[in-house]
């Protein structure tokens, strides 16, 4: 069968990204023809500023060279402008007479720079800043000409001005408003930017409206409405861009400001798709790269007839690509009567930060000087995170909230190439930059896949995003807000969970079938999540799918780097007996356990055990009454305690006994991520309860209950949930909090980020203020425990469960 024909008009970033995505999913589906009006392959337009400034050369920014088109069987007509579309005959016609038939047509015609219609705007020497040709013109002009005037003090204009200044020209920026980048910056930030650029020697004429461009044969100067005049040998118009819709309009496709497309990027003619700066989607047009890439992904899926994604619009942020001047802005940074602004201004250090909040959620941010936390604010904004817990520290940045592992390094630009960014995988800044440039990466996911940076604990994510932004330039912005659970589905964690609940789904296969999973048996990311959601939602009905569990939870021991396992028996509340210790000692000797160690959670760890030995070891431990400590699972770990009032001269309550009661109640429960508890017998807090997921601190009149603490990568001190009087209340609140976490948090989300995401207020409302809801949660927790509290070690020690896990299929001599 003959392949269908796909024609792309526009050899720019959006269209080519769509083709690249398409080649990944359906490489054999189409015969592809590309028309481009420029004489090159596809290049990274957002890096034209560094080329102009002399920091990069053209080959550095080429994305796909001509051999690439050939290798992928794509016909490229470069230097070939399409001037007509015959939609009835389904073919496109180029100015030079070239034609191509299509079954599907993709328009990615980009945008045109806007030329203000004043007398003289067509004089030689008046140019725009849009493509490589403009950059070449500017570079050669800078060699022979003296005075450059840039009209437009926005992002593009300032980048042009900076580049021309770097090239040695005398540069004046003319701007209509009194504030530079007034669409992205407030007065203070615009003023600071103004001063920084002035220090570099760029001159400014603000509040100046151009009346005409003067000159006889070529440009000689610019005259303004107020009568002022300035000399000019070169005028760069950078006042904005307009979607390039001429071709679409001429072909009868419905356009407003841009070519109108729906959520699948189709125009009014269903055979014709459009992506990029030329489209108008839900009344929005976009001029940044991140939204274009989101569109490309959706469009390619529909071209490949996968038909699963929808484009629902993008939230964007801006960053100026002028080396050495850091400016960031996102969202609504001006605010109104309903918002509050938090501002930090340090003129001496050249730092200004402003975050606009509404109901404790970020609406927008603007920053100058220190923009390292831009990506973080942007993420908080997109996710609608309640920042009340840390709003007093918000402006000091994420590093200030405590990140172990990279010593507070935050000025990415000044970081040495050898500086370690990802402490987990040992990835340095230089390697990340190299991968971004060399492998043409654009997203955080790309960088994670290629370098492993930020793919383990995630604490360096902000830094990696900064490096991406710095390397790619300002148009980089982070991934879309609602992330799918994994690559097998378009549904988010929350949506999958809701479906499991609403449709009463009780098996992984059923979920995958009902929600149209793309891979028939999922992947290593979604299967454990689905298994957890199912057992947490329907504890009485769902059969635990062990093949969908990570190895640790499948064999109830913790895999170590050499493939051996570690065994941690439970010690209720950290209390043990000589008999238990003797049993552990005997096991360690009998099985020649290489190492015996006390864990961070006050338990004893036997390390270096071979898998085949596990059932026998569990059998021996079981004889002494020792059961699984679940030190390996996304589960209740240990309840750490101090000795409390039984022995300690300061203790005010029996914390040890309280800890034992809590551990007896909670053990065996599966949770979205590991869950640690502690009970301290007095406010001296020797059990360190205020960095636990659930911490109890005894006071003279009862117990303080703390939640959402974390001692890990990012230390987070707990929030005080409430104070209660009796041990029974402690248990009820603990069970209710656990159940709320189990029902509402996303898989692999610790309590600390969960509490920050949903806000303490919601948790207090359900657990403290509403006794009925608390009791219902507590009852559901106790009910689920009926099915969870079975010692997995005992089951396996008797060789009755999962025997195949522990013996080889065959031994070959």
């Amino acid at each position: 069968m003959e392949k269908e024909k796909l024609v792309l008009v526009g050899n720019g970033m959006a269209g080519m990204r769509t083709l690249e995505e398409l080649l990944k999913t359906a490489p054999e589906m189409y015969d592809i023809t590309v028309f481009g009006s420029e004489p090159y392959g596809n290049y990274n337009r957002i890096l034209l500023s560094p080329v102009l400034a002399g920091e990069k050369a053209f080959p550095d920014i080429l994305l796909n060279d001509e051999p690439w088109y050939e290798a992928n069987g794509i016909t490229l007509h470069k230097n070939c402008e399409v001037t007509g579309i015959d939609r009835r005959a389904r073919k496109v016609i180029a100015r030079d007479g070239t034609t191509a038939e299509y079954d599907r047509l993709l328009l990615a015609t980009g945008s045109n720079p806007f030329i203000i219609p004043v007398p003289g705007s067509n004089l030689p020497g008046v140019i725009t800043f849009r493509d490589m040709n403009d950059v070449d013109t500017m570079i050669s002009a800078s060699k022979s000409l003296r005075h450059a005037v840039v009209i437009g003090g926005g992002l593009l204009g300032l980048e042009a001005a900076n580049g021309l200044k770097q090239r040695g020209m005398h540069v004046t920026v003319v701007h209509l408003s009194r504030t530079l980048m007034d669409r992205q910056l407030d007065e203070v930030a615009g003023g600071m930017l103004h001063r920084s650029l002035e220090e570099r020697g760029v001159e400014f004429l603000l509040g100046a409206e151009t009346r005409e461009i003067i000159g006889k044969k070529r440009v000689q100067g610019v005259r303004f409405k107020d009568g002022r005049e300035t000399t000019a040998d070169l005028v760069v118009m950078a006042v904005g861009i307009r979607p390039n819709i001429d071709l679409a309009k001429k072909s009868g496709l419905y356009c407003e400001r841009g070519i109108i497309v729906n959520d699948t990027l189709q125009t009014y003619d269903p055979r014709v798709y459009a992506v990029g700066e030329c489209v108008q989607h839900r009344r929005q047009t976009y001029g940044l790269v991140a939204p274009l890439f989101e569109q490309a992904k959706v469009c390619s899926d529909h071209l490949a007839r996968l038909g699963i994604r929808r484009y629902q619009g993008s939230v964007t942020s801006t960053k100026l690509k002028v080396t050495g001047i850091d400016v960031f802005s996102a969202g609504d940074f001006t605010g109104n009567e309903q918002t509050e602004s938090i501002v930090l201004q340090d003129p001496g250090a050249g730092v200004y930060k402003k975050v606009v909040l509404k109901d404790n959620r970020i609406q927008g941010a603007v920053m100058v000087g220190d923009t390292v936390d831009g990506a973080w604010y942007f993420q908080l904004m997109r996710e609608g995170t309640d920042v009340s817990a840390f709003r007093t520290r918000l402006l000091h940045g994420q590093a200030h909230l405590g990140d172990a592992g990279h010593g507070g390094a935050n000025a990415v630009a000044t970081m040495d190439d050898k500086a370690e960014v990802c402490g987990c995988n040992g990835v340095c800044k230089g390697e990340i930059v190299q991968a971004i440039v060399g492998k043409k990466l654009f997203t955080l996911e790309d960088v994670r896949a290629h370098t492993k940076a930020s793919s383990s604990c995630g604490s360096c994510t902000g830094l990696v995003e900064q490096i991406l932004a710095m390397t790619l330039g300002g148009d980089y912005s982070a991934a879309p807000k609602a992330k799918p659970l994994c690559k097998c589905t378009e549904y988010t964690h929350d949506e999958v969970r809701a479906q499991i609940r609403e449709r009463h789904l009780t098996g992984i296969a059923a979920v995958m079938q009902e929600l149209e999973w793309k891979n028939p048996d999922g992947c290593a990311a979604c299967r454990p999540a689905l298994n957890y959601y199912l057992i947490a939602t329907w504890p009485a009905e769902v059969k635990d799918d062990y093949q969908s569990r990570f190895i640790n939870e499948r064999v109830h021991a913790n895999i170590q780097k050499d493939g051996t396992y570690s065994v941690v028996p439970r010690m209720w509340g950290g209390v043990t007996t000589p008999a238990e210790l003797r049993a552990i000692a005997d096991v360690a000797e009998k099985f020649k356990v290489p190492e015996v160690k006390v864990t961070g959670g006050q338990r004893i760890d036997l390390l270096g055990i071979k898998k085949e030995q596990l059932p026998a070891i569990w059998g021996e431990l079981g004889k002494a009454g020792l059961v699984s400590g679940h030190a390996y699972g996304k589960a209740i770990r240990t309840v750490k305690t101090c000795v409390g009032s039984e022995w300690c001269r300061f203790g005010v309550q029996d914390s040890t006994n309280m800890g034992i009661q809590i551990e007896r109640m909670t053990w065996g429960s599966w949770t979205p991520h590991k869950f640690k508890l502690a009970v301290s017998g007095c406010p001296r807090n020797c059990a360190e309860a205020t960095i636990k997921d659930f911490g109890v601190v005894a006071v003279d009149s009862g117990w303080e209950l703390h939640v959402g603490g974390n001692g890990g990568v990012k230390v987070r001190v707990t929030d005080l949930l409430c104070k209660v009087a009796t041990p029974e209340e402690v248990l009820e609140h603990c069970g209710a909090f656990l159940q709320l976490y189990r029902e509402e948090a996303r898989y692999l989300e610790r309590t600390a980020p969960w509490v920050e995401r949903v806000g303490l207020a919601m948790i207090k409302q359900k657990i403290v203020e509403n006794a009925t809801e608390r009791k219902a949660l507590y009852a559901r927790f106790l009910d689920s425990q009926k099915y969870a509290q079975v010692d997995p070690w005992a089951e396996r020690a008797q060789n009755s469960v999962d025997r195949h896990e522990f013996i080889p299929l065959k031994q070959i001599a």
């Binding site: 048996d521 190895i551 780097k561 299929l809 065959k810």
Partner: protein, 116 residues
């Protein structure tokens, strides 16, 4: 020495759980034998090309296994790491006759010869 350019019977399909794996111990190192959800059988050297993690302990989905140590995905039919990771665990030819599995094992310079 049983290891001679020969098909070695290792057991029945049902001995391996679906979406699971079992280990064959040999003097030259472990072999992981996988069974997919659709009852296909594959055999790889039980060492991830990344840091030597035991692939037999990973989660099996489709025709890949995810290494338990650092989440590399390895294609079951070839032993190749799924891009962008690079490396190969090496695979062994598998034959199924009447529900019984055999592996083709051969020696090369005192090592198990794998196909990459």
């Amino acid at each position: 020495m049983t290891l001679m350019n020969d098909w070695i019977d290792i057991g029945r399909i049902e001995d391996i759980p679906p979406q699971g794996a079992r280990v064959i111990r040999t003097a030259q190192g472990d072999i992981a034998v996988f069974r997919t959800a659709t009852d296909e059988i594959f055999a790889l050297r039980d060492r991830c090309p990344h840091k030597g993690g035991p692939l037999s302990q990973g989660i099996v989905s489709g025709k890949t296994v995810t290494c338990p140590l650092h989440n590399w995905n390895i294609a079951l039919d070839t032993g190749e790491a799924v891009a962008p990771d690079e490396g190969c665990a090496g695979h062994f030819p598998v034959k199924i006759v009447e529900g019984r599995i055999s592996l083709l094992l051969s020696m090369e310079r005192a090592k198990l010869a794998v196909v990459c």
